[in-house]
Amino acid sequence: MCLAVPMKVAEIDDRTAICEVDGVRREVSLMLLDDVEVGDFVLLHAGFAIEKIDPDEAEKTLAVFREVLDAGMVPE
C-alpha cells in the first residue's frame, strides 16, 4: 500500500503540480512538500508528493552498487 512513483514536476500552480512519468501526466498535491520546482523529481503517493528525490544521493547509491562489481564480486 505504501507504493510510490517517482515523477518529474512539469508545471506548478500554487499548491498543485502537474507531474509526468513515461508520458503519463497527473495532478499532484504539494500540500506535504515545500520548495518544489519545475524539473524536480518527486515521489508520488496517493495523489500527494511526499518527498523530493535527491539526485546526488541517488547517484551515490548506484555508485556503491557498481563498486561491488569493481571489487570483483561475482556469484559462486
Binding site: 500500500m1 505504501c2 507504493l3 510510490a4 512513483v5 517517482p6 518529474k8 512519468v21 513515461d22 498535491s29 500540500m31 506535504l32 512538500l33 515545500d34 523529481f41 515521489l43 503517493h45 496517493a46 495523489g47 500527494f48 511526499i50 518527498e51 528525490i53 535527491d54 539526485p55 544521493e57 541517488a58 551515490k60 547509491t61 548506484l62 556503491v64 552498487f65 557498481r66 561491488v68 562489481l69 571489487a71 564480486m73 561475482v74 556469484p75 559462486e76
Partner: protein
C-alpha cells in the same frame, strides 16, 4: 522510469548477491531478518530475492500490510456503512475484497451499495463535492506514508466547507509494533529491514530506540531489487559484527528527520491512540485517531451504525503469519480453502499480503 529502472540492473544484482554471501561467510547458524513492510514482502517474492540468499539468512514477513492488520470488526463496520441509504464508500482498492464476518464491500457493491475505488483521498473529497446529497465515507487505512494524505483530505474538505465528507479511520504507526515484536520471546528477530516510504515521512531517527534500547540493527531500505539486496547486505554486516545501528540505504528519499511538513499536518489532524492489530492484539499508542478539532469529519463520532458481532474465520492463521511466527505453507487453508479468487484471510486478499505473494510467486 527514471529513479526506478536503474535500481533493477541484473548485472549489479549478481554482484550484490555475491557480496551478501561474502558478508555472512563463516557465520554460525541462521540469522532472521524481518521485512516489516508489505511492499518489501511483495518485492522479495516478485524478484525471487529469497532464492538468491545464502542459507544463513532467513527472511520473515512482518505486520506491515495495513489491510492485513486491520481487524475484522473494521470491515464489518465498513459493510454496515455501505448498507446505509445515500452513502458512498470511497476506498483504496485493496479493502474492497477483504472478507468481513458475513460480507465484504465487494458483495455489498454487487447488492447495490455504492463502493468507489479511489487513488487518492482527494478523489474522495471531490466525490463529496460532486454529490452534496450523499454521505461520502473514506476508509482511512494505512501507515504513516498514507495518513498525512488523509489528513490533507480532511483539511481540504474543511477549507471547502464540506459537511458530507467523513473518514472512517484505522490508521496505524509502524515503530511501536516493531518494539512489541522485538520483545516477543518466541520470535527472535536479528535485524529489521525498515520500510521505505513510511520512513520518508517519519525519518530514519524514528528507529533509533529500537537499535539503541532493544539492540536490534535497522536498515531503512528502498523497494527496488537492488535496494533490497543492498539493505540485506548492510543488515547482515551489522548482525555478523554484533552491532545495532540505524543505517539508511534509501538515502535518495529518506532523511534522518523525515518529512517534517507531513509530520506537522498529520499531528494537526490526528493524535495517538491505542488500537487493535489483527493477530497481535491492542498495542498502546500504535494508532492514530482524528483530533477533537476535526471531529466533524470523523465517521465513528458522527455516524453511529449497528454492526454485527465480529467472527474470525475458523482455521485462518493470518495472526501468526503477520507476526512472522508461521509461513503461509504452515496454514491448513493455504492453497486449499484460501486462494486469491476466494480468500479467507486478509493476508491472501491484499496484493501485499504474505499469503498472496507466496501464492503468486512462491519462493
Amino acid at each position: 522510469m527514471k529513479y526506478a529502472s536503474e535500481y533493477r540492473d541484473p548485472a549489479l544484482a549478481k554482484g550484490l548477491v555475491a557480496a551478501i554471501a561474502a558478508e555472512v561467510k563463516g557465520y554460525p547458524g541462521v540469522m532472521t531478518l524481518m521485512e516489516v513492510c508489505g511492499t518489501h514482502t511483495m518485492s522479495i517474492y516478485q524478484h525471487g530475492i529469497c532464492s538468491l540468499l545464502p542459507a544463513s539468512i532467513r527472511l520473515i514477513s512482518g505486520p506491515g500490510c495495513p489491510v492485513c492488520v486491520t481487524p475484522i470488526g473494521y470491515v464489518d463496520r465498513a459493510v454496515a456503512y455501505a448498507r446505509q441509504p445515500d452513502t458512498i464508500i470511497a476506498t483504496f482498492g485493496d479493502m474492497v475484497r477483504v472478507p468481513g464476518s458475513s460480507s465484504s464491500l465487494l458483495r455489498e457493491q454487487a447488492d447495490g451499495a455504492q463502493v468507489k475505488v479511489v487513488y487518492s483521498p482527494l478523489d474522495a473529497v471531490a466525490l463529496a463535492e460532486k454529490h452534496p446529497e450523499k454521505t461520502v465515507i473514506f476508509l482511512g487505512v494505512g501507515f504513516e506514508t498514507t495518513t498525512p494524505t488523509v489528513a490533507g483530505s480532511i483539511v481540504a474538505a474543511k477549507q471547502r466547507g464540506l459537511r458530507n465528507y467523513f473518514v472512517f479511520g484505522a490508521h496505524k504507526t509502524i515503530p511501536t509494533p516493531m518494539a512489541v515484536l522485538t520483545s516477543d520471546p518466541e520470535l527472535k528477530v536479528d535485524g529489521y529491514l525498515c520500510p521505505a516510504h513510511v520512513s520518508a515521512v517519519i525519518g530514519a531517527n524514528a528507529y533509533r530506540p529500537l537499535a539503541e534500547q532493544h539492540h536490534v540493527p535497522c536498515v531503512v531500505t528502498g523497494f527496488e531489487p537492488l535496494d533490497m539486496l543492498r539493505g540485506i547486505q548492510l543488515l547482515a554486516r551489522q548482525v555478523v559484527a554484533g552491532e545495532a545501528r540505524v543505517e539508511t540505504e534509501y538515502s535518495r528519499i529518506v532523511k534522518p528527520e523525515g518529512n517534517q511538513k507531513a509530520q506537522a499536518l498529520l499531528a494537526e489532524v490526528f493524535e495517538p491512540c491505542d488500537t487493535p492489530w489483527r493477530g497481535i492484539g491492542v498495542i498502546p499508542d500504535s494508532g492514530l485517531k482524528i483530533r477533537e478539532a476535526y471531529a466533524a469529519f470523523d465517521a465513528e463520532r458522527q455516524l453511529p451504525v449497528a454492526v454485527e458481532e465480529p467472527q474470525e474465520h475458523q482455521g485462518c492463521r493470518c495472526g501468526e503469519i503477520l507476526k512472522g511466527k508461521l509461513t503461509p505453507k504452515d496454514c491448513p487453508l493455504f492453497r486449499r480453502a484460501c486462494t486469491p479468487e476466494n480468500p479467507v484471510g486478509a493476508c491472501m486478499v491484499s496484493s501485499e499480503g504474505t499469503c498472496a505473494a507466496e501464492y503468486k510467486y512462491g519462493c
